[in-house]
Structures are given as structure tokens and as C-alpha cells.
């Protein structure tokens, strides 16, 4: 089990830390639909039309040091994306694993 977990985590770290920099930067399916009907300028601001994205507001936590899968203070895109991915995998494993470990069935200590 330990070997499997370590192997699985390494794959996840490699995907989030390295492969993520080569992911598509195009708007995703929902974003694409949200933008349909509007026109955008070079800075990606809405210039006209009607679309779902018109009422979109900034994220309340947009100032987070890891916002948008970057790392504040690191200008190299590959490094910022990769490091934020590695941090995300480890944090998710820690929170998820910790939560599930606490919730698990335990054999009764004193039968």
C-alpha cells in the first residue's frame, strides 16, 4: 500500500508540477459558453454584446498568494505554475487524506 501511495503521489506531482505548464490556455467549455455573444478587446475586457460573463465578478480571494495557479513573487511562468501545482497536490492530499483518516472505521480498542 505504501509503495502504491508513493507511486501515485509521484505521478500526481509530475502532472501538476511539470505537465501542467503545457496544458491548453484556451477558455474552457463553461467559460467559452459564458463568453458567447460578447466581444472582447486585447485585454480580454468585454466591449459589447450580451453574454453570461457580463455580470462576472472578481473572486473574493483573488489576492491569495497562489491565486490563478501562480505564485506571487515568481515571474517564471513554468516555475510558478509547477510550484503551485505541487503545493496544491500536497495540500489536497493532506486535507483529503487527513479528513478520510479521521472518518474511517476503527476496530474497537477494547472489544
Amino acid at each position: 500500500m505504501k509503495k502504491f501511495l508513493i507511486g501515485g503521489l509521484l505521478v500526481a506531482l509530475l502532472l501538476a508540477g511539470v505537465v501542467s505548464s503545457f496544458a491548453s490556455g484556451s477558455p474552457d467549455g463553461l467559460d467559452h459558453a459564458a463568453r458567447e455573444g460578447c466581444t472582447f478587446n486585447a485585454d480580454d475586457e468585454i466591449t459589447g454584446g450580451t453574454c453570461m460573463a457580463q455580470q462576472e465578478q472578481d473572486h473574493q480571494l483573488a489576492g491569495s498568494p497562489l491565486a490563478d495557479y501562480a505564485l506571487r513573487g515568481i515571474d517564471n511562468e513554468y516555475l510558478a505554475t509547477g510550484l503551485s501545482g505541487v503545493i496544491g497536490v500536497l495540500v489536497t492530499f493532506a486535507i483529503g487524506g487527513g479528513l478520510f483518516w479521521v472518518l474511517r472505521r476503527r476496530p474497537r480498542a477494547d472489544g
Binding site: V11, A16, G25
Partner: protein, 233 residues
């Protein structure tokens, strides 16, 4: 390449009251999942579920192109249901969504209930029904498991996107044709679902070959015979 995108609802697309209602639905749904997950979780499933959540986080960063200028990424419902079961699986996807929202400002905080409802609850519920059904009717082979992952992913992703359409019908903030939105989303998400299905199939088939005992769906929906096919590989 410059911007990692993710397929989550941003703030302001759905109005406040409807977002709040879905936050309540999400919390109630997750509470049921916690209650049922406690029955499933043991010393073996708990660390596996942590790994599944971490893996889904990683793969959600990997947007793949589906049409010129349009991308998508795995949502993870089917993958999670096959590997760790529906209740724990929904919690895995929700964990990822909460981490993404709070730490990476991906998916609005106000919209968190909407995103959890669509991707964790609808995604896992759809996958649960489909996986349980398909594993019983498809051949008891690795190919059958892969096909189950692929088909359940495509349908699960489209249904999750229809969850958004329902939310938009209730609380959309712009006047647009619902039919048009539904058609666009269903089309794009069919393609995204195929991509998700290929990733999910590859992943579960790999795990089934290495450690078939760690695949929840094989234990739950396809009792003894599979073990032989799996361990021989």
C-alpha cells in the same frame, strides 16, 4: 499556456439567492456523503481516497483542447466513484473544489455550492448509477472496466453541465436563451467528457492491473471473478 483555466462557475454568473440555496444543498449533500462514507472508509480506503483527491487536483490542471480556442479538463466524478465509491468519491471531488476555491481562487466563493452540486454531487451520483449498471452488463474484463469509465465519464460530464443550465434557469444574471446555452454546453461537454473518459479509463485500468484490490467498483459491483483476470495481468 499562460493561464491555467478551470471549468468552474465564477462569482456573479448566478444570483445571490440561488447561489445560497445551492450552498445549502451542497452542505446537506456532503453531510449525507460523510455519513455514508464512514461505513466505507477503513485503513485501506482512507489513504487511497486522499491520493484520489490529490490526483484529481493534478489532472484538473491539465486542460486539453476540444475545439479551436476551447479547452476542458477532467472533473473526476467517474474516476473517483470507480476507485473509492460514490460517497467517498463525491467527498474527494468536493475537497478538490474547496482547495481550488480557497487557495487558488478558482471557482467563486459565492459559487462554491453551485460547483460542488454540479461536479461533486451530480457528477458522483450519475457515475454511481452508470458504473453500477455498466459493470454488470459489460464483459468482466479490463476492457469492460475501461469502457465503463469512458461511457460513464461522457454522460456524467454532460449531466454536470446540465446542472449549471438548471442553476442558470433559476438565477442567471443576464437575459439569454436557455436552449442556446444548453446546446452549447452539451456539445462542448460531450467532447470534454470523451477526454475525461480516456483519462479516467487509462487510470482505472492501470490501477486494476497493479492493485485490483484497490478498485472499489470491482469489489462492490463485480464480485469474485474479476480478481483472477486482474491479478494475472
Amino acid at each position: 499556456m499562460d493561464d491555467v483555466q478551470a471549468m468552474h462557475i465564477a462569482n456573479g454568473i448566478i444570483n445571490g439567492p440561488v447561489s445560497a440555496i445551492f450552498m445549502v444543498i451542497a452542505v446537506a449533500g456532503l453531510a449525507v456523503c460523510v455519513w455514508r462514507a464512514k461505513i466505507d472508509l477503513d485503513d485501506r480506503l482512507a489513504p487511497m481516497a486522499g491520493l484520489v483527491a490529490a490526483f484529481i487536483f493534478a489532472v484538473q490542471m491539465l486542460n486539453f483542447g476540444v475545439l479551436p480556442g476551447v479547452s476542458g479538463h477532467l472533473l473526476g466524478g467517474t474516476l473517483a466513484v470507480i476507485l473509492v465509491g460514490p460517497w467517498v468519491g463525491a467527498l474527494c471531488v468536493a475537497t478538490v473544489l474547496i482547495v481550488q476555491c480557497l487557495i487558488f481562487s478558482d471557482g467563486g466563493l459565492t459559487a462554491l455550492g453551485l460547483n460542488i452540486t454540479n461536479m461533486a454531487l451530480i457528477g458522483a451520483a450519475a457515475a454511481y448509477v452508470l458504473v453500477a449498471l455498466l459493470l454488470r452488463v459489460l464483459p468482466r474484463t479490463t476492457a469492460g472496466l475501461g469502457a465503463t469509465a469512458l461511457i460513464a465519464s461522457v454522460i456524467g460530464v454532460v449531466l454536470a453541465s446540465m446542472g449549471f443550465v438548471a442553476e442558470y434557469a433559476l438565477g442567471g444574471t443576464t437575459e439569454l436563451s436557455l436552449g442556446g446555452i444548453a446546446a452549447t454546453l452539451a456539445g462542448v461537454h460531450t467532447l470534454i467528457g470523451i477526454g475525461e473518459g480516456l483519462i479516467a479509463a487509462t487510470t482505472v485500468v492501470t490501477v486494476a492491473k497493479v492493485r485490483p484490490d484497490l478498485v472499489y467498483a470491482l469489489r462492490a459491483f463485480r464480485k469474485p471473478t474479476y480478481a483472477k483476470a486482474g491479478s494475472a495481468a
